[in-house]
């Protein structure tokens, strides 16, 4: 059973995917310098009503084994300790102890 935070992250990813176009449209209006101020302001207010699971900043890479949010190596989706354990067990293709 994945972490509670992992579940939240999954929810955020689904939400971002579903609302990306709508958010971008509102952002386009809100940041457009040529439009009148009131229209931009209204668009910004609408943008504020979106929930937190639609914001792309909520998405964070988490360890696929432990669900830890820090120290994650993106290429493997693993925390540094999990990466070390799997690397020493030869479970990561091509990864070996470096020596030079």
């Amino acid at each position: 059973m994945p972490n509670a935070r992992v579940l939240r992250d999954i929810k955020a990813r689904h939400g971002v995917n579903a609302n990306e176009i709508l958010r971008r449209a509102y952002l386009y209006v809100a940041r457009n310098q040529t439009l009148p101020a009131q229209v931009r302001f209204q668009a910004q207010l609408q943008l504020n009503t979106f929930g937190r699971y639609t914001r792309p900043t909520t998405v964070k890479n988490r360890c696929i084994e432990t669900g830890r949010g820090r120290g994650v190596i993106s290429e493997f989706g693993l925390t540094r300790f999990q990466f070390r354990q799997k690397a020493l067990a030869n479970e990561l293709p091509g990864v070996h102890k470096a020596s030079w």
Partner: protein, 240 residues
Amino acid sequence: MFSRSCRSAVSALQRSLRFNSTNSRPPAAATEPTLPTGTPLSQIPDISEPFYASSIVHGRGVRPPHILPKTHGIPAATLHFRSYHPNLLDFFVHFAGHAAAALGIPISKPVHLPTQRRLWTVLRGPFVHKKSQENFERRTHKRVIKAWDAHPDTVDLLVQYLEKHIAAGVGMRAVRWTRAPVGIGAKTVETVRGQLRGSDAVPRAQKVKALGEQIVKEEMKAAAGAPTTEGAVQHTAPSS
């Protein structure tokens, strides 16, 4: 792939035979029926199995492949091979060389491109102890073989054969040279435009823009007309 004892035996044999290419071998005895090495398939006459088997150069599969001479120097293909395991890579490149020689394709010797090295330094422990870390690396070894002068169908055959029998752990990429008819530039642009139309990227940007204009219209109407309505507006998910 091989057992430990086999691996060391093969590598020992390879080392001893590395520089004894079939090019420099002395010719076989006159009594034995032989075919010159590198004879293209088209020139081999209809022969029975015993004749062909007795004409095989012993150890040919282990020695470096025969490099056929270029006929015109026109590039046909460039084969890139990448792997994390250099022995496996060299083995498969050796196999690719023999396959090309069997098909009568002049090739270059395998060239070693610079090895890419990816390094990760991680803490040894799961918690604190920053001063004790461990280095892990992953080396990507690369080899290139260039093919010349062959018919495009022959090169197709080589690439398909290699893809079918590729060793697990080796990646191959083939860059091909083909002759194109006059007017190919315009046709290519048209094809690419058609593909763009079908893909997701362009309609998405258009959708965003269209939605934006719609939102602007609504807000302008609301601003120009009665006082603005309070409360959250219904957000409809866009139809994808």
